[in-house]
């Protein structure tokens, strides 16, 4: 039986060479180049994708380890005609300059909202239990795994904060 991974709802067979990372699989085998390779060592977050609802660095895992999993990449989050709330907010707030880190930032922030909805604490949370207030400090800590070489951080935080406010109201 061929092993496969579901990417944005479509099945893609897992390549034979076990060395292929999930990141290279997405870009080369599935042909979805929205997910970016920055460092290839788990340090920059450009390769962030959502696997079974959880955000991970796709460069530090093997495609062979994800048989039967469901992956959402930036291509599955929105389209040019129908962008997600975060994608719109990044455009409105100038949340990027070159745009290389942006797919990872948006995948990361998309999953971050789920984590917040579950009240998962972070290093910046005053309390480990109870409801978490989405402050700028919380956003910065939770997004610290996504580096931006252009330093668009202030606007990235503003874009995410705008969506947080939208969701809250």
């Amino acid at each position: 039986m061929t092993q496969s991974i579901s990417v944005n709802g479509a099945q893609h067979p897992i390549p034979n060479d076990p060395r292929v990372t999930l990141l290279d699989f997405l870009r080369h085998d599935a042909g979805l180049t929205g997910t970016k390779k920055g460092c290839d060592h788990g340090q920059c977050g450009a390769c962030t994708v959502i696997v079974n609802g959880i955000r991970i660095n796709s460069c530090l895992t093997l495609a062979a380890m994800h048989d039967g999993d469901s992956v959402t990449t930036i291509e599955g989050i929105g389209t040019t005609d129908n962008p997600s709330a975060l994608q719109r907010a990044f455009m409105e707030h100038d949340g990027f300059q070159c745009g290389y880190c942006t797919p990872g930032q948006i995948c990361s922030a998309t999953a971050m909202f789920e984590e917040l909805a579950n009240n998962w604490p972070s290093d910046a949370s005053g309390q480990l239990e109870g409801k978490i207030e989405i402050t700028g400090e919380e956003i910065r800590e939770r997004m610290s795994g996504n580096l931006c070489r252009c330093g668009a951080y202030a606007n990235i935080v503003a874009a995410i904060q705008a969506v947080a406010t939208e969701k809250g109201s």
């Binding site: 060479d17 076990p18 060395r19 990372t21 290839d40 060592h41 788990g42 977050g45 962030t48 959880i54 955000r55 991970i56 660095n57 530090l60 895992t61 093997l62 062979a64 380890m65 990361s108 971050m112 984590e115 579950n118 998962w120 604490p121 972070s122 290093d123 949370s125 480990l128 239990e129 910065r140 800590e141 939770r142 610290s144 795994g145």
Partner: protein
């Protein structure tokens, strides 16, 4: 990456059989191993993927403690309701490490076995006794900012870089290890990692073919729990010094002081003499200094990391003062 054979282990015995071969390793989250395989620091011929062995459960134990499966992710452990309420030092230690994406993939077993972040170890063009026995230690006279000040040897001065195990060590947690023959043994987290001595390549007590199945925490004890991590930036950096503390003060006297230190040695550092100094005494700056004197009496810096010695003293003061304040 060098070519390797990938095996999805079907059972613990299967995984154990595969990794008892020299040149074979277990892979859990992969966040440390694949990083090192790309750098060719690790060049396994075979991998045993242990992710389908059902060891991700976190469950209450009969004695009121908690058993965290080896495959439970760092996130799953940190957000578990009982970890948050009864073992906050552990939740805090995990949340102070890496990033959300990494913690979502990193596992309890993998985190315990993560390798040092010594720059010479990860650069195959440099000498390193840990990676290549007998090649020398680049760090002793080189870039050693992250390196150890306690328990070093003339072979290796690397640190164990993790946070989770420091908290587990202070909590008196125990590692459950399955042997190839199906037997299980247990080792306290405090004794799981080794000092470098003459065998710096040996980082922990695992024998070939052994697999960590879980870590169990004893029942909650009274007292304040603190994890303080000092690092070069406020997020997403390894510890220069960290302290996990479970401290209780009764009638104005220390009645419990379970402390473990990260960033100082090849293992989470534990010194039973600190509790002996503190317990039964009235908290004071002078007493904190006595505790620091004992902890640091054998400390030796290597130039770049000399700062860790006064930094540890100040951090210990801060943690004990915070415990006193919270108990008030």
């Amino acid at each position: 990456m060098r070519p390797f054979q990938y095996n999805r282990a079907r059972s613990l015995a299967d995984a154990s059989g595969i990794i008892s071969d020299k040149g074979a390793l277990a892979i859990a989250g992969g966040t440390n191993l694949l990083d090192l395989m790309k750098l060719q620091v690790e060049i396994p011929e075979q991998l045993a993927d242990i992710n389908h062995l059902g060891m991700a459960e976190i469950a209450d134990t009969e004695d009121g403690g908690l058993r965290i499966g080896a495959l439970a992710t760092n996130t799953a452990a940190a957000v578990h309701p009982r970890v948050r309420s009864d073992y906050p030092v552990l939740a805090r230690a995990i949340l102070a490490g890496a990033t959300q994406q990494l913690r979502n993939k990193a596992t309890t077993g993998g985190n315990l076995c993560q390798r040092t972040r010594c720059f010479y170890f990860t650069n195959v063009d440099q000498p390193c006794n840990k990676r290549e026995p007998g090649s020398g230690c680049g760090a002793i006279d080189g870039i050693a900012k992250l390196h150890a000040v306690l328990g070093t040897s003339d072979q290796c001065i690397a640190t164990y870089p993790g946070d989770m195990a420091v908290a587990m060590s202070a909590l008196g947690a125990v590692v459950h290890i399955a042997h190839e023959d199906g037997e299980e043994r247990t080792v306290p987290v405090a004794d799981f990692h080794c000092l470098p001595g003459d065998t710096p390549w040996r980082e922990n007590v695992l024998e070939p073919g052994e697999i960590i199945t879980a870590v169990s925490l004893p029942a909650k004890v009274a007292g304040t729990q603190i994890y303080r991590k000092v690092r070069e930036r406020s997020s997403y950096a390894f510890a220069l010094v960290s302290i996990a503390a479970i401290v209780e003060i009764k009638n104005g006297l220390f009645s419990r002081a379970d402390l473990a230190f990260g960033g100082l040695a090849h293992k989470p550092w534990h010194d039973p003499r600190i509790a002996d100094v503190l317990i039964g005494q009235v908290p004071s700056e002078k007493l904190f200094d006595e505790a620091a004197d004992i902890l640091l009496s054998g400390a030796q810096g290597f130039g770049e990391n000399d700062f860790k010695i006064p930094l540890t003293r100040r951090t210990l003061h801060a943690v004990l003062a915070q415990a006193v304040e919270q108990a008030a």
